[in-house]
């Protein structure tokens, strides 16, 4: 039984006069991992950043169409962007931990959102770190600078930090591009674990990764959604010639 979590209707995104997305309509399902693939500049990241309104910060950003989360259009004027971003967490390509201790990184959002009880914060830190599969590595080093950890550990701490605001949806923008194969594998396992609780959208350049981790795959090209289907279908029997060429590595 799959339920629609994010529904995007006729979305077009512009940055000044450049159109990044052209009339995209797509339904993303709850507790599934959806991969977004396509060559550079195809609008993958723009789509991702539209879902948590990170694009609002960009100069000259404009959009037409609708983005619905649980049936609510997040671009309605009464929507509070701050609350939206608590609902939709984001992981970036490169770890962007604050140059503070691990504990301070994980406690940042809870404290920001008004939790004062130290015990409660400690519980959140431990719970999210366990969820992100990084607790055993950090539990004795909580007061160490987060930037002393390995790149793979940092990325998992980033995921833990994103979980501290208790989101429903996790957006991941090439979360393992900058990592070695072992760390990448750990992130992929983690994504598999996390989808039980969260709806996950992953932008990736890595075809094998998309095939391994995702239930659904959307192929974008030049701002258009070319094909969207079950991952197994996209990689074995795509309906579109362009998709086939891309996933088999003939272009892009």
């Amino acid at each position: 039984m799959k339920e629609v979590k994010i529904k995007i209707n006729n979305l077009s995104v512009y940055f000044n006069y450049i159109q990044a997305l052209n009339d995209v309509s797509i339904e993303l399902y709850a507790n599934r991992v959806t991969s977004i693939i396509g060559p550079s500049g195809c609008g993958k990241t723009s789509l991702l950043r539209t879902i948590n309104r990170m694009n609002d910060l960009m100069h000259g950003f404009r959009l037409t169409g609708e983005v619905l989360i649980d049936g609510v259009n997040i671009y309605e004027p009464e929507i509070d962007v701050v609350n939206l971003r608590k609902l939709v967490g984001m992981i970036f390509q490169k770890s962007n931990l604050f140059p503070k201790s691990v504990y301070e990184n994980l406690a940042f959002a809870p404290m920001l959102h008004g939790i004062k009880d130290k015990k409660e914060i400690e519980e959140i830190v431990e719970r999210t770190a366990i969820q992100a599969g990084v607790w055993n590595e950090i539990k004795d080093r909580l007061n160490e600078n987060a930037l002393n950890f390995s790149a793979g550990q940092q990325q998992r701490i980033c995921i833990a930090r994103a979980l501290t605001v208790e989101p429903d949806i996790l957006l991941m923008d090439e979360p393992a591009t900058a990592l070695d194969p072992v760390s990448t594998a750990r992130i992929e396992e983690l994504i598999f674990e996390l989808k039980r609780k969260y709806t996950i959208v992953v932008v990736t350049h890595n075809m094998q990764q998309a095939a391994r981790i995702s239930d659904y795959t959307a192929f974008f090209y030049l701002g258009h959604l070319v094909e969207y289907d079950k991952t197994t279908r996209i990689f074995t029997n795509p309906a579109n010639k362009q998709t086939e060429d891309y996933v088999t590595g003939r272009f892009g």
């Binding site: 990170m54 971003r85 967490g89 604050f98 959002a109 930037l147 002393n148 390995s150 930090r161 994103a162």
Partner: protein, 323 residues
């Protein structure tokens, strides 16, 4: 064999390079030598008169004897007041320009003005301070509060305000650079966690920019301490053996406070008058050296603090750049 030797042998081009490096090295050496001679002379002559009494005593006997206590006090007091004016205005202006202002004609005009202000001769800023702070602001305050002639005359308050105008561009520019050096990914991280713009600035941007901002503050402090032209007309006194201190009555006891409406002595101005206005410049010579050494040492210490801060700042930046 000879072919290879031909290729590997020194070309005349390289010889030119060696000559250039040689001359650059010797020019650098000359600069060091000149600096060393100046500082060495001041140090050797100055250290002889410096002792505890020299640091706390007032000048005596037509400035040919005694110490420079009031001048040290005045310099420090003026500098502190200057920072109280300049740091909040400068830092918040920079935060506005870097974080909030969009790039339009007005903000470009403001940026250009800041750069022009940095290039304004300090004597012009002094005249502006006299015309604006004393004749306009001070006189108006006197008029409104009916305080007679209290604010509308040269005083430490207006000297500090004028010096603040002088160092404002330095503070703004260094703060802008410090804010700019915080990578976008750090802000994105905070926004992604549901922080508002102000929370992002307050909890992520400013803490990381702090060492850079402090470096700018200290550098501008050391500049403001050595400047004399802006405060020539603004309450810098020739001779003022009493410290500009007011006792504030708090019932049983009184607290000494810097009185910003008083005139004051200043190290840099003191050197100037000893050298040019004294009845017997030859007699004041040792005191001139001593005063100069103290001024240089204050400036040097402040610069040293700036260097240490910058070093710490670079270290945090290196960590941020990793992985």
């Amino acid at each position: 064999m000879s072919d290879i030797k031909d290729k590997l042998g020194m070309k005349s081009k390289q010889l030119g390079g060696i000559a250039a490096i040689g001359s650059i090295k010797s020019l650098t050496l000359i600069i060091f030598l000149v600096l060393f001679l100046i500082l060495g002379k001041i140090f050797v002559e100055g250290i002889e008169v410096i002792n505890w009494d020299f640091l706390i005593d007032s000048p005596r006997n037509n400035m040919t004897e005694g110490g420079i206590g009031p001048a040290i006090f005045g310099t420090i007091a003026v500098s502190i007041l200057m920072l109280l004016f300049a740091v909040p205005i400068g830092v918040f202006s920079a935060i506005y320009l870097n974080e909030y202002a969009t790039d339009n004609l007005l903000t470009r005009l403001i940026r250009a003005s800041v750069n022009n202000l940095a290039g304004t001769p300090s004597i012009v800023i002094g005249l502006f301070g006299f015309g604006f702070f004393i004749l306009v602001v001070g006189k108006s305050i006197d008029h409104i509060l009916q305080t007679g002639l209290l604010f509308g005359q040269p005083a430490m308050l207006w000297a500090s305000a004028t010096l603040a105008v002088l160092i404002l561009p330095t503070i703004i520019v260094t703060t802008l650079e410090a804010l700019n050096s915080i990578p976008y990914s750090q802000r994105a991280a905070a926004y992604g966690l549901g922080a508002t713009k102000w929370q992002t600035i307050k909890y992520v941007v400013i803490p990381q920019a702090k060492p850079g901002i402090l470096t700018g503050v200290i550098l501008s402090l050391s500049r403001g301490t050595g400047e004399i032209a802006p405060i020539l007309f603004l309450g810098c006194a020739f001779f003022l053996p009493e410290l500009p201190i007011a006792q504030i009555n708090m019932g049983l006891f009184s607290i000494p406070m810097i009185n910003p409406t008083d005139q004051f002595m200043h190290l840099a101005y003191h050197i100037f008058i000893l050298a040019t206005q004294s009845t017997n410049p030859a007699l004041t010579m040792p005191i001139q050296y001593g005063t100069t050494l103290i001024l240089i040492m204050i400036t040097l210490l402040l610069n040293l603090a700036a260097i240490i801060y910058r070093y710490k700042f670079r270290k945090t930046l290196e960590i941020t750049g990793k992985g």
